[in-house]
């Protein structure tokens, strides 16, 4: 137990700070509503965080190498089964089939995939040639396809870069990675270009025809159109973005005070998103630029200290693990905040540690518990334990 004194304190404390911000603003967002369940949401966030911290410390004490060795593949297998199950049994919420009983299997799948990839390419004998690349693509394709089927584009959108960055760190067949990257960029550009072309088409029938050929769900096409033209439908699909920008923009440097955001109090920022995907708008309105800066600073401190642990751990598995989870969190933060301020199309992604969401919070804490384990279990270059 004394070992715990040697954890990476910056990483730990910045996480506690982010969770605290989450509790405060979930309370603030929930208090504006008449529904009792929303009033209590901050309490369940805090309780989940306590459970998560216990898990965090427990995993920190375990040797991550053993965890990866014994749990990575079983976890991956279970996660894929759960993803299949959710397609058959899940509850539909906001147009997506993401919930199985009380948790979201896609959150588990994200961590499970990262663990499996770290385990697979962290071994000494791992192949990094074309065959290794094919194996990696297979490991990535299974969860991504299943997640896209829900459909949960956002989760897929953060998992892919996280895994690709890990493969990059592992130097797996660079040509393949570059091809994938280019293909992704071209695909994204083509989709956006097609939507933009449709937007410029004055003839309604032709516009509909172009939009019908884009292989995306109608709500995704709507989001792309709103991204290109924020004033397109301010009372419909452009509502959340417009209101989020008004919330953030009216916050000024000092904010309106916690619990005093007009946008949320008056219901302009819909209660369905104000404590979830758009909680950053509440933070920025009530705590101002100052508060937003503190939040982003805590994320950066946490991610950079995680990277430092990874850089000094002398172990490929640990390094890949840390690259995976920190890229995942960074993508979450970036996509979430960027969509709130109109820099990216809207995708339903929570803000790590802050958005209300129990599965994701527990998964995140488990992931960073493993990162702490990397910090607590360094390897000497010739440590025989490193050879497994």
């Amino acid at each position: 137990m004394r070992k715990l004194l040697h954890i990476d304190w910056i990483m730990f404390l910045s996480m506690i700070g982010l969770v605290a911000i989450g509790v405060v603003f979930i309370q603030s967002a929930g208090a504006a509503r008449q529904i009792a369940a929303l009033h209590a949401a901050w309490r369940s966030h805090a309780l989940t965080a306590i459970v998560g911290i216990l898990l965090y410390l427990g995993l920190a004490l375990l040797d991550y190498r053993k965890v990866l060795k014994w749990a990575a593949w079983p976890c991956f297998a279970v996660a894929m089964v759960l993803l299949l199950a959710v397609l058959g049994l899940g509850d539909k919420v906001y147009g997506g089939q993401r919930w199985l009983w009380f948790f979201q299997p896609s959150e588990i799948a994200k961590l499970a995939t990262i663990l499996a990839v770290a385990r697979f390419f962290g071994r000494k004998e791992a192949r990094t040639d074309f065959k290794g690349f094919i194996a990696a693509m297979a490991m990535l394709a299974v969860p991504v396809v299943l997640i896209l089927a829900e459909p949960d584009l956002g989760t897929a959108l953060v998992l892919v870069p996280a895994v690709l960055t890990m493969l990059c760190a592992a130097r797996v067949w660079i040509k393949g990675l570059v091809t994938i990257l280019l293909a992704g960029l071209i695909a994204a550009g083509a989709l956006l270009g097609a939507v933009a072309a449709a937007e410029r088409e004055p003839d309604r029938a032709k516009r509909e025809a172009i939009l019908a050929r884009i292989p995306l769900h109608p709500h995704q096409i709507r989001r792309l159109r709103v991204f290109l033209n924020p004033d397109l439908d301010p009372n419909g699909s452009g509502w959340n973005l417009r209101q989020a920008k008004l919330s953030i923009g009216s916050g000024f440097i000092y904010g309106k005070g916690i619990g005093k955001g007009d946008q949320k109090l008056l219901g302009y920022l819909p209660p369905s998103v104000s404590m979830n995907d758009f909680i950053f708008a509440v933070v920025a309105e009530e705590a101002g630029f100052r508060g937003a800066l503190v939040t982003l600073g805590l994320f950066l401190a946490m991610l950079l200290s995680a990277l430092r642990v990874g850089a000094t751990c002398n172990d490929d598995q640990g390094l890949l693990l840390i690259v995976g989870i920190s890229t995942l969190v960074f993508c979450h933060v970036y996509v979430n905040v960027a969509m709130s301020i109109g820099l990216m199309p809207i995708t339903g992604l929570p803000l790590p540690f802050i958005s209300a969401g129990k599965t994701f919070l527990v998964i995140l804490m488990a992931a960073f518990g493993l990162a702490q384990s990397v910090a607590l279990h360094p390897s000497a270059p010739d440590n025989p334990e490193n050879q497994n």
């Binding site: 923009g249 009216s250 000024f252 937003a292 994320f299 950066l300 990277l307 690259v323 970036y334 301020i341």
Partner: protein
């Protein structure tokens, strides 16, 4: 170890760059462009409500209140208290059912205008405003509501200002009435909502609306995404009054309420109108039109049925006959003819032999005395109102002289009184006749006009102005209803009649003879049951008129009296017309006597 820790440095730099990009955009959004966001947000979540000021009173010349604002208890529905019921349909249903329940509890019928559709529209368009359900609640009902208010959390009672006319129909045509309307406010283009304001619809209420209404105030309220006022306490203190409403001013009239009452009592039961002027200033002391109406019945709302019943009444109670009713002035016009002739050089002592009928080619005109007045000069012709004498006089002086003098007296054009609608009347000439009937002017037309018949038309107000000018020696004043403030100099006459003072005096003496021993005896005297004569406790002059209008079945007589008193220094000039009377002297004379007697008294000599 294949993986290079250097990769971590690149990754860390990428993370930092990403966060920096976001921070830069946040700085732009939150700090640089903060004003635009705040303004957009304010536009989105505030509504301004226009609140009318308390409407001013209307007072008679002695301060008697003719129109007042009184508190009226209302029961209203507050939409925001239903906001938790869900969508608009559910809210409207909840309001509906509570309304039915409350209607049963209070034993008040549900207002017919407040349909389900009306409630839905209110929730959609103006959900930050209350719905006024029942106005003018009596104390018993209010007590019943207070007892059970707990069961109706969405309803509350409040006080609103309503108009009241304490003397009911007194001077109704002068005062006019009010309706509810959107307050006027040019300075608030962003105004979303308004409390209905009392707005003058007719009479002085309309003419001096800006003066009475005061200055509309403006209040900003915060509204939530559905347009309801938020119930949260911390939102309430963001309600701000941008400008307090200012109460309207009191309007003091020249009307003398007791005299007005006497005039109206004299006109009760007949169709007609009367005007009393102060010949020294043109101030209107009384103005009445009969039949009349009670403006209190228009409050709180003038229903369509009520309005139709008044508007479709064949007697036109809403018409102000004093300013808008045009009548042939008949013999009351003869003083004007006389002045025109004297001005043109006619000899007042020249005698004309009245044989009861006047002929000019094919034109024949009967004197009312079918045996004729015999040899008659101006003084006796005025006294006896001899038609043949004046027809002959008219023939001698010509159309133009009469037309010019009539127009000098203000006939044929609006008097300019400070009261909305006014008819100009008609002083016909050859041009007018050709334009309006397509026929040329015949010499007989001049003779007709000389005795105030034919195409000549005047309003009672115009004849009162004529009478006032004869009373004061030839000054035409613009009649007015709003009392002049004490610091203002007395009004100046608009113009002077072009006539010699001795000519005017000659006509006045003729009119005095009318009242003392001529056709207008009943103006000066009242005959008691035993033929005893009560005399006004003053001197007076008058002229009667009996104008025959229409032909055949619709043939009728409109009867007139114009009179002023005291003769030496007149303070009252009266003009009264009664439709379908017998004769000016018999029908209207006693009425004018009562009007003058109310001021000067009468005695048994």
């Amino acid at each position: 170890m294949r993986t290079s820790p250097v990769f971590m440095v690149f990754l860390g730099a990428a993370f930092t760059l990403g966060i920096a990009v976001i921070t830069a955009e946040l700085w732009r959004l939150q700090v640089v462009d903060v004003a635009a966001s705040k303004e957009n947000q304010r536009r989105q979540n505030t509504r301004s409500i226009l609140i009318p000021g308390m409407r001013g009173r209307i007072l008679d010349r002695s301060g008697r209140v003719l129109a007042d604002s009184r508190p009226s208890r209302v029961i209203m529905c507050l939409p925001e208290r239903f906001a938790n019921k869900g969508g608009i349909t559910n809210i409207a249903n909840a309001v509906d059912s509570d309304l039915e329940r409350l209607s049963a509890v209070l034993n008040l019928p549900r207002p017919p205008g407040l349909t389900h559709e009306r409630i839905v529209r209110h929730m959609r368009e103006s959900s930050a405003l209350p719905i006024y359900v029942w106005r003018d609640i009596d104390d018993t009902t209010l007590a019943r509501f207070a007892e059970r208010a707990d069961e109706f959390p969405g309803f509350d009672e409040s006080v609103r200002a309503e108009r009241i006319y304490p003397f009911a129909s007194l001077a109704a045509h002068v005062i006019g009435y009010v309706g509810h309307d959107r307050p006027e406010n040019d300075t608030a283009p962003s105004t979303h909502y308004w409390e209905p304001e009392l707005k003058g619809r007719s009479g002085l209420e309309e003419r001096y609306d800006g003066y009475l209404a005061g200055v509309t105030g403006e209040q900003r309220v915060l509204v939530d995404v559905r347009g309801f006022k938020p119930r949260a306490a911390d939102a309430a203190d963001k309600e701000a009054s941008v400008r307090q409403p200012a109460d309207g001013l009191d309007l003091v009239l020249t009307i003398d309420a007791p005299l007005q009452y006497v005039l109206e009592r004299q006109l009760r039961g007949v169709l007609g109108a009367g005007v009393v002027l102060d010949p020294r200033t043109g101030a209107v002391l009384a103005m009445a039109s009969s039949p009349t109406f009670d403006p209190n019945e228009f409050i709180p709302v003038l229903t369509h049925e009520k309005y139709r019943s008044l508007a479709d009444d064949p007697d036109h109670p809403l018409l102000n006959r004093a300013t808008s009713g045009t009548y042939a002035p008949g013999s009351t016009f003869k003083p004007v003819t006389a002045l025109a002739a004297l001005d043109a050089g006619a000899d007042p002592e020249a005698e004309y032999n009245c044989r009861g009928v006047f002929t000019l080619g094919e034109f024949r005109l009967h004197c009312w005395d079918r045996y004729g007045h015999g040899e008659i000069a101006l003084h006796r012709a005025l006294r006896e109102s001899c038609n043949t004498y004046f027809s002959n006089l008219g023939r001698m002086v010509g159309t133009n002289a009469i037309v010019r003098t009539a127009r000098e007296f203000g006939l044929g054009s609006k008097t300019g009184i400070d009261l909305g609608a006014e008819a100009p009347g008609v002083v016909p000439d050859a041009e007018w006749k050709l334009a309006n009937s397509g026929e040329p002017w015949y010499p007989g037309d001049t003779c007709q006009m000389a005795i105030g018949q034919g195409m000549l038309l005047a309003t009672p107000l115009q004849m009162a102005v004529v009478c006032a000018a004869l009373a004061n020696g030839g000054d035409i004043y613009t009649p007015y209803l709003r009392a002049r403030d004490s610091w203002m100099p007395p009004p100046k006459p608009m113009r002077r009649i072009h006539a010699r003072a001795e000519d005017i005096e000659r006509v006045r003496m003729g009119m005095r003879a009318v009242a003392e021993e001529g056709t207008g005896k009943r103006v000066l005297f009242r005959y008691g049951e035993r033929r005893e004569r009560y005399r006004l406790r003053t001197t007076c002059a008058a002229k009667t008129g009996t104008a025959e209008v229409g032909r055949g079945e619709t043939r009728r007589k409109n009867t007139w009296v114009i009179a002023f008193a005291p003769y030496e220094a007149p303070t009252m000039a009266v003009a009264v017309v009664v439709e379908r009377g017998e004769s000016g002297g018999l029908t209207v004379g006693p009425k004018v006597h009562e009007i003058l007697a109310s001021r000067f008294g009468e005695e048994l000599p």
